[in-house]
């Protein structure tokens, strides 16, 4: 696997004096444009996402943050009449190149959606599903071990270990969302994309998801879209603000929420936007 990180033009300089640990670049996006038919949804996005950090995307509805998130594992490919220009490099390899393997990409870049979507199967089978179809476990004991590991990583094991054969649909909303995270973790991705993962959850379930995100960032690169600015402030190391398909500002979360560089970002985070 190529590990060459391309040097892209630095469009945004992170200006905070906060000391961030030096990390290699996991994702590098260069001059990305995205179109739904003739409507341009993303305009000239350039940014880099360091490995093993949490980056949050914020912005008003329709600003392009979810569209952008979905370009990072080519989830928009399934939407007809869409078009991508520019580069998205993960570990130095362009995921939109003709030779890119989309199945391998999605194994490497997992995704958790706004609404939890467990399969109508047992808890065990939900987590084991990706392992089975990708033939990632060579024996039953290995499969069980990987399922247990994923459920532990998703902070769900203690709550479900005695009912692994029960239907996943019997879990609470927060547990279902953590099950979906466990399902994503089971195939050992390197990047996890989260599209408003806690927007439908109560404060306790939300806080469990947030704790989990902070634990997971030691092993994974996490990109999260959220409408909840306090959530972005709580869980992320870096925050990017999008508006009308453009990346307006990317900064350390601490800087963006205390002293953003752009006035329009300040108007948004202080709630005086529009």
């Amino acid at each position: 696997m190529s590990t060459t990180i391309p040097t892209l033009r630095p469009k945004f300089e992170i200006t905070s004096r906060a000391v961030l640990p030096s990390r290699e670049t996991k994702i590098a996006v260069d001059a990305l444009n995205f179109y739904y038919g003739r409507a341009q949804a993303l305009k000239d996005i350039t940014l880099t996402i360091p490995a093993r950090m949490v980056m949050a995307f914020i912005g008003p509805s329709g600003c392009g943050k979810t569209t952008f998130l979905r370009t990072l594992n080519r989830m928009n490919d399934v939407i007809p009449a869409t078009r991508v220009e520019g580069k998205v490099m993960i570990d130095g390899a362009d995921i939109y190149s003709a030779s890119a393997d989309v199945v391998e990409l999605r194994r490497k870049v997992g995704m958790v959606f706004q609404k939890s979507n467990p399969f109508p199967k047992s808890i065990f089978d939900n987590v084991a599903y990706g392992l089975k179809i990708n033939r990632l476990a060579s024996s039953r004991s290995e499969l069980e071990g990987r399922v247990e590991e994923a459920l532990k990583d998703a902070a769900l094991w203690e709550e479900v270990k005695d009912r692994l054969k029960s239907s996943a649909l019997g879990l609470s909303g927060g547990q279902q969302q953590r099950l979906c995270i466990a399902r994503a973790l089971a195939i050992r991705p390197e990047v996890i994309l989260m599209d408003e993962p806690a927007s439908a959850l109560d404060p306790i379930a939300t806080s469990k998801i947030e704790e989990l995100i902070m634990d997971l960032k030691n092993q994974y690169t996490i990109v999260i879209v959220t409408h909840n600015m306090q959530q972005a402030a709580r869980v992320s190391d870096l925050t990017a603000f999008f508006l009308l398909g453009k990346l307006i500002e990317i900064n350390t979360t601490e800087k963006l929420f205390t002293a953003p560089d752009e006035k329009v970002t300040e108007d948004y985070v202080t709630g005086r936007f529009g």
């Binding site: 306090q230 205390t258 002293a259 953003p260 970002t265 985070v269 202080t270 005086r272």
Partner: protein
């Protein structure tokens, strides 16, 4: 945008409260110095009588800050404003406490013969009052440049204090009979010098609030 209008109203209310606290601290300082240089014990007692009200105002500003933090989760310039006000309120309350100490010294000194160094103290007091007024004006106008100018004046008040300190020590050596009164004046001078430092703190908070720049310990 109803929510934003409410937040703006709360921030305006907080600004009014802290400026009222600032105005009270200014008045306390001015009256305390009048009581000392004008030998007006009634003015000194008025300063002391009013101090509880200033303490209550500080508590009120605190409460408003906590409410805004808890209920509005301010960000960016709003966060810096509430944070600065939360730090400014105890500073203003302490300035008023120093004014009370000056008023107490006045009550002791007004029954004794006047000392010539009291004229120097008048100048120092005027400088402290003028710096405090300018700092509060700069805060009202979100004027970081004016705040920086006020900070520069702290060196003058420190120089005055050092001169007065030496004069008073000399005086004590030369005329030991005045030592008790000299010592009281020395304390008054120290209170004024500390007020200069507190005014500097207020100005640094203004610069943080306005420009998001942390300048404390850097000048």
């Amino acid at each position: 945008m109803e929510v934003h209008r409410h937040l703006d109203e709360e921030l305006d209310h907080l600004r009014d409260s802290v400026l009222r606290l600032g105005g009270e601290a200014e008045t306390a300082l001015r009256r305390a110095m009048e009581s000392l240089v004008g030998r007006d014990s009634a003015a000194a007692r008025a300063v002391l009588d009013h101090d509880d009200e200033i303490d209550q105002l500080e508590v009120e500003v605190d409460r408003q800050c906590v409410d805004i933090f808890a209920l509005r989760q301010p960000a960016a310039r709003d966060l810096r404003f509430v944070m600065s006000v939360a730090k400014m309120a105890p500073v203003l309350e302490r300035i008023a406490d120093h004014a009370c100490n000056i008023a107490r010294a006045a009550l002791d000194l007004n029954d004794e013969p006047e000392l010539k160094n009291q004229a120097q103290l008048r100048h120092m007091g005027e400088m402290a009052s003028s710096m405090l007024g300018a700092a509060l004006d700069a805060f009202t106008r979100n004027d970081a440049a004016a705040a920086r100018e006020v900070i520069k004046r702290d060196a003058e008040i420190n120089d005055l204090y050092n001169r007065l300190f030496h004069d008073l020590i000399e005086m004590m050596a030369r005329e030991p009979i005045t030592a008790t009164r000299d010592a009281r004046l020395l304390f008054v001078a120290k209170h004024l010098e500390r007020i200069g430092d507190y005014v500097t703190d207020i100005c640094e908070l203004n610069v943080y609030m306005t420009e998001a720049a942390i300048i404390k310990h850097k000048h």
